[in-house]
């Protein structure tokens, strides 16, 4: 019985959350939506593990919906590139769902909890769809579903601060423009090739080997659209308010996974499809993505230093970290792609952990967490504070944490590409990261203020510590992440050579 479902694991990891989301949408109960979501995501994890097993045997799964062969039907593709991400995704959503319950309870109206979890699962399912889909139009659909779900979730933060509405609205407008740009690009590509399937697209595009203006225009539209969605500098402006005014659990999910999945698709598009126009690709990477990444790293870090609101600070640091990832991806070689994937993994964990901890503080403080409000938290809430400290040190990139591994491989990639200027810039900006992170630590431990404290809640600090321990674990025993990233880079590069 169960085996029947396992065979279709590829579809079910996406369909299951969407299906359950419909079931729990109008459930009046306060706790059942959470339990059902949790069970769903455990199943989700089982399915992902099954996919991992399959991939380790066969190396490639193409799942055709309704048995329609590509290029007609929509297909999902799971191979070495995305299996690692899928696994990370599965584990992280489970942990953050576990974490989300108490947060939602205190931040939103408990009558809405069914709706909130419905949207939550909707976002999870569609983000997972982005990871798996092999169809450029289907991607647009998932992109929009996830955007709409996360916008609604962000707007739920309005109970805390009405600015959440403005943030959500801006995200909606900018996001929709991005998505529409992407669709225009898809239109161009479809007009030229008559296909939407990514593998087929490569084959069809090959006939225009010299490249045509229409194709280049289409490619540019698609890339710009995705850049908006992935919050690559300078089209990142929607991200900081959206992340910082959303309910804390939502910020956790979005910061850790939303931009990462889109970045993943972005790089897949670059290296799997557009690679057949090497001159265009290197033009884009060298003269657009590379300088933008450097700017993102530098400006993101600088702005973060001057933030007073902790969630905003973390959001701007995300901009800088996305810059690291795109910098790595702009290097065009195996080491660069590997280090980009490594940082996707590591940054997802780090930012997830940081947002979880800060979200908990927000609940304890019952207001937005600013630097001042953190005074003495280190003494009052030592368990969470210590987790925050470790995550932060990892963000800076100190050894024995996974942030260091990211940095090591990024340096290696830059070094093999002889980009010494970038090395210097990355080094400087990681030192600046100390500045903004240390401001937090200083407030937490080195200024005391008397206030009534509550006991820390194990339901909340347990997931935080799971993330924190994994940060240390992957800092010491880094080979799983490195191997997955290597695998991803291998697949992308080998596609390029064929």
């Amino acid at each position: 019985m169960f085996n029947i479902f396992l065979d279709d694991a590829a579809a079910l990891v996406v369909v299951l959350p969407l299906l359950i989301s419909a079931i729990i949408a109008f459930m009046p109960s306060k706790i059942w939506p959470w339990i059902i979501s949790l069970v769903t995501l455990v199943l989700h994890l089982v399915l992902s593990l099954h996919l991992l097993k399959e991939i380790s045997i066969s190396g490639l799964i193409i799942y055709e919906f309704g048995n329609w062969e590509p290029p007609w039907g929509i297909s999902f593709k799971i191979d070495g590139v995305n299996i690692g991400l899928q696994l990370l995704f599965s584990i992280f959503v489970l942990v953050s769902t576990f974490y989300s319950r108490k947060i939602f309870l205190s931040e939103i109206d408990s009558r809405d909890s069914g709706k909130a979890y419905s949207l939550w699962l909707l976002a999870i399912g569609s983000l997972n769809g982005i990871i798996l889909t092999n169809d450029i139009f289907n991607l647009f659909v998932f992109l929009e579903i996830s955007a709409l779900a996360s916008i609604s979730l962000i707007a739920l933060g309005a109970g805390q601060n009405r600015k959440a509405l403005l943030a959500a609205f801006n995200y909606l407008i900018i996001g929709a423009i991005g998505a529409t740009f992407y669709v225009i690009g898809v239109g161009f590509a479809y007009a030229m090739t008559g296909t939407l399937n990514m593998n087929d697209l490569v084959i069809q595009l090959a006939q225009y080997s010299d490249g045509q203006l229409a194709i280049f225009a289409g490619m540019s539209f698609m890339l710009i659209g995705l850049m908006v969605k992935a919050a690559i500098f300078p089209v990142h402006i929607w991200l900081p308010p959206a992340y910082s005014y959303a309910p804390s659990a939502v910020s956790t999910l979005l910061a850790a996974l939303a931009t990462k999945t889109i970045l993943y698709f972005f790089v897949r598009l670059l290296y799997e499809v557009f690679i057949i126009y090497p001159s265009y690709l290197s033009l884009f990477l060298d003269f657009v993505l590379y300088p933008l990444s450097l700017l993102a790293i530098f400006i993101g870090t600088l702005i973060a230093i001057y933030q007073d609101d902790i969630k905003k600070l973390l959001a701007f640091s995300s901009i800088a970290q996305i810059g690291y990832i795109t910098l790595a991806f702009s290097l065009k070689d195996h080491s660069g792609i590997t280090s980009g994937f490594i940082h996707i993994f590591n940054h997802a964990l780090i930012k997830g952990g940081l947002f979880m901890a800060v979200g908990y503080f927000a609940i304890l403080y019952k207001d937005r967490v600013t630097l001042n409000s953190l005074r003495g938290f280190g003494y009052k809430y030592p368990i969470t504070s210590f987790a925050l400290l470790i995550c932060g040190l990892s963000l800076i990139g100190l050894p024995l944490t996974n942030g260091f591994i990211s940095k090591l491989y990024l340096f290696q990639a830059l070094y093999t590409n002889q980009m010494y200027f970038s090395i210097a810039l990355v080094a400087v900006s990681s030192a600046l990261a100390v500045a903004y992170f240390w401001k937090i630590v200083e407030q937490m431990w080195f200024s005391e203020i008397k206030f009534k404290s509550e006991k820390e809640d194990a339901y909340i600090y347990l997931p935080i510590w799971i993330i924190t321990v994994s940060i240390i674990f992957f800092g010491i025993y880094s080979s799983p992440i490195i191997e997955f990233s290597n695998l991803s880079a291998d697949y992308l590069i080998s596609g390029y050579q064929n």
Partner: protein, 145 residues
């Protein structure tokens, strides 16, 4: 406010006359979608248009008695579940997700069954969502009071 909409007799009579044909037309589009232009999206909107027209003419509360909000909400979910359920059933019958061929012994009949069920799900969802949208936007001003 909600029942004070003064409708002229012309409007109310015309809408009463039109109500049933619109729904019939919606159903036609719905089931025609199997082998011609049409389908759940369009049909759903047309059916919803009938209900929305009714609400516009006779006021929101009348509209709500026609389609109670709770039932509307459940129908939304039922539509999605119908769609997804077909997929799950096809998996249970050892096919791919949404693989209609296995729904019946004859693949072509299977395709018919599958597409009709799926489109029905789509239609129900679209219609109910449209009605819900209209109701929630139209009733906006009253929540403040």
């Amino acid at each position: 406010m909600r029942d004070k909409i003064s409708s002229s007799p012309v409007l109310s009579v015309v809408s009463k006359i039109l109500f049933a044909p619109i729904i019939i037309f919606g159903l036609y589009v719905q089931f025609h979608g199997d082998y011609g232009p049409g389908g759940g999206f369009q049909a759903g909107v047309i059916v919803a248009a009938a209900f929305i027209l009714y609400s516009m003419i006779f006021g929101l509360s009348k509209g709500e008695t026609l389609v109670p909000i709770m039932i509307n909400r459940y129908l939304m979910c039922v539509g999605v579940l119908l769609y997804a359920g077909v997929g799950i059933v096809s998996i249970l019958l050892d096919g791919m997700y949404l693989d209609y061929n296995v729904l019946s012994s004859d693949p072509s009949t299977g395709q018919h069954i599958g597409i009709i069920l799926v489109e029905l799900g789509v239609g129900i969802t679209v219609a109910t969502v449209m009605i819900a949208l209209y109701h929630s936007f139209a009733s906006f001003g009253e929540i403040n009071e």
